[in-house]
Amino acid sequence: MTDQFKIPEKTITNIIGRAIPKPANDQNTDDILPARYMKEITFKKMGEYVYFDERFKEGKIVKEHPFNDEKYKGATILIAGANYGCGSSREHAPQALHRFGINAVIAGSFAEIFAGNCASLGLVGIVVPPEKITMLAEYVEQKPSTEFDIDLAQKVIRYDEHVVEFDMPEGRRQAFLNGLWDAMAILEQNEGKIKETAAGLPYLKFR
């Protein structure tokens, strides 16, 4: 990496807030953001569409849906099951969560493309074992006012007197801690080496 590189001022060290429990496994990107709401050329309105088909049925609001439920209003952390965000590559899904107000997702595991998309938006995705997901979700259901502190430096979630360890890819953790999650700036640094790599690819020269 070149010396003149400056770290963007966007470090993310802690996500503090209340949580929404939605611990089902295999929640896919069509659940999070149905395809017909992707027919827009900006992400601006995506927050309105999050979980649309679950939250509104036949034109009526489903009051008990965790994203509609008054007791979770203003929460910034989502507790989800395994394989969260499976399905399509649509960034519209994490954009919808983020614009709804979610700043971190605690899941049993993440689908790869979804996890990458979250990271490039500054939406923090962390992983805890399935039994911990069940425990956290039940805890929040019983006490929705619980305030969580996701500490990226220590790799722990703190709430009340409890501490739970979490996992996440180290590269992503470093990117958040060092304000490098918007990768554009660091990718632009290596122009010389990019040219070198391209020059070494035989298939770019085949006629």
Binding site: N25, G116, M184
Partner: protein, 469 residues
């Protein structure tokens, strides 16, 4: 850790360096686009005042929102028109080759790019679409990416990535009749679960894969993402080379030289893998999904599982899926009436898929609404030269223009209410085919064609003896 695989070699060739985060900066040799996941990426470049770094390595098409019946402009759907127009303006501004409706080459992205010879062994390919993994059929590393990452690729021709682990999946044994690449993929996903491939790329091998056509390999690789794997590939061989010969963008004067390179990047005989999965195909039957994810599948002559067959967590999911699908456990899925049959998509919208469906439908009549949506203008012309369009039309099916169509219902081709569909596409998620309460059963083109005739989920082997194309 894997060693000597195609993945290792191709990855190594494209590494630019380590980023300060510890991730790898990787060069992108081929970047492909469609209208849904790109407008915001171009906007990011405009906001930063930067140009596309290698516009000559990027290609674009409109496929998701395009109507498949009346294609005159402007489209009736104003949002579809705006999205198409936005892509057209963007490719012009940034100097990117575009396959528009008037090009004669338009179609579903994952069908046209290989057809045009843009996908060559040894490439590292990305596209803002999860089914980018389709291209793995050619011995490439192909990854679906998000829109912000599309902006990274446009601006720098690179992106930040972590290397995946590699699972070698071997298909061996003798295939039973009416068992296609689609059935093998659904069987594999059922076996591993929809999460089973997370963190892995799949290398497919074994005699069954060796004997597959390129189109079958594309179907197999297309579906890896439904089992959680971000990418999957087949090592390039004579079948690959034969397919590429004379394709529009494939090497011409350097073809032999290219072939040497393509052979060189294939996995070594003594390559090491992170995991190996052996699948004996000899007991696999035509597969159909009964639930709301592609892993909730059974052989066509099996009974729908009962929720009690599963562990606690899966039990809740199964109950929820059965309720959504309007089905009960413990009964036959076969014979369930359907309202719509959809034959098409990046999974099964290629010429051989249409041929297989036509073989069953020849001289028969469909008893429900049946959409046949060819994957590209090129293969549509080819199918028409072969008379396939006439077989479909005489059977009472609708012969449409190319597009993603009812795979995800972003155009007017959608389920209504709780309609049930038999679909050759890739996802049976809730609401996937355009109606929030629509029901989808995934299956092969042969099974879909048999189902279209009977108007209910039907074992295609029933029509085996009658075929005569």
């Amino acid at each position: 850790m894997s060693k000597g695989t195609l993945y290792d070699k191709v990855w190594e060739n494209h590494v630019v360096g380590k980023l300060p985060t510890g991730q790898t900066q990787i060069f992108i040799g081929r970047h492909l686009m469609h209208e849904v996941t790109t407008p915001q990426a171009f906007e990011i470049l405009r906001e930063r005042g930067i140009n596309a770094k290698h516009p000559e390595l990027t290609f674009a098409v409109t496929d998701h929102v395009i109507p498949t019946d009346i294609r005159s402009r402007p489209f009736k759907d104003e949002q579809a028109e705006l999205m198409t127009k936005t892509l057209e303006d963007n490719v012009r501004e940034f100097g990117i080759t575009y396959f528009g409706i008037d090009s004669g080459k338009q179609g579903v992205c994952h069908i046209i790019y290989p057809e045009l010879g843009l996908i060559l062994p040894g490439q590292l390919v990305v596209c803002g679409d999860s089914h980018t993994c389709t291209y793995g059929a050619f011995g490439v590393l192909a990854f679906g990416i998000g829109t912000t990452q599309v902006s990274h690729v446009l601006a720098t021709q690179t992106m930040a990535m972590d290397k995946l682990k590699i699972r070698c999946v071997k298909f061996n044994g003798t295939l039973l009749e009416c068992v296609t690449a689609k059935d093998l993929a659904l069987y594999m996903i059922k076996k591993t679960g929809v999460e089973g491939g997370v963190g892995f790329a799949y290398e497919f091998s074994g005699e069954v894969v060796d004997n597959m056509s390129m189109e079958e390999r594309m179907t197999l690789c297309n579906l890896v993402v439904e089992g959680g794997a971000r990418s999957g590939y087949v090592n390039p061989d004579e079948t690959t080379f034969k397919y590429l010969k004379d394709k529009h963008y494939a090497p011409k004067e350097d073809f032999e030289k290219a072939k040497e390179y393509w052979k060189f990047i294939a996995s070594d005989k003594d390559a090491e893998y992170d995991d190996i999965l052996n699948i004996d195909v000899s007991k696999i039957k035509p597969m159909v999904t009964w639930g709301v994810n592609p892993g909730q599948a059974i052989a066509i002559d099996e009974k729908i599982p009962e929720p009690d067959d599963f562990n606690q967590k899966e039990k809740e999911e199964a109950e929820d899926a059965l309720e959504y699908m309007g089905l009960k456990g413990g009964i036959e899925l076969q014979g369930t009436p359907v309202d719509v049959v959809f034959i098409g998509s990046c999974t099964n919208g290629r010429l051989s898929d249409l041929e297989a469906a036509a073989k069953i439908l020849k001289g028969k009549k469909v008893s429900v609404k049946t959409l046949v949506v060819p994957g590209s203008e090129t293969l549509k012309r080819h199918a028409e030269q072969m008379g396939l369009d006439k077989i479909f039309i005489e059977a009472g099916a609708e012969w449409r223009y190319p597009g993603c169509s009812m795979c995800l219902g972003m155009n007017p081709d959608r389920l209504k209410g709780t309609q049930r569909s038999a679909s050759t596409s890739n996802r049976n998620f809730k609401g996937r085919q355009g109606s929030p309460t629509g029901r989808t059963h995934l299956m092969s083109p042969i099974t879909a064609a048999a189902t279209a005739i009977d108007g209910k989920i039907t074992d295609p082997r029933k029509y085996l003896e009658e075929e005569s194309l």
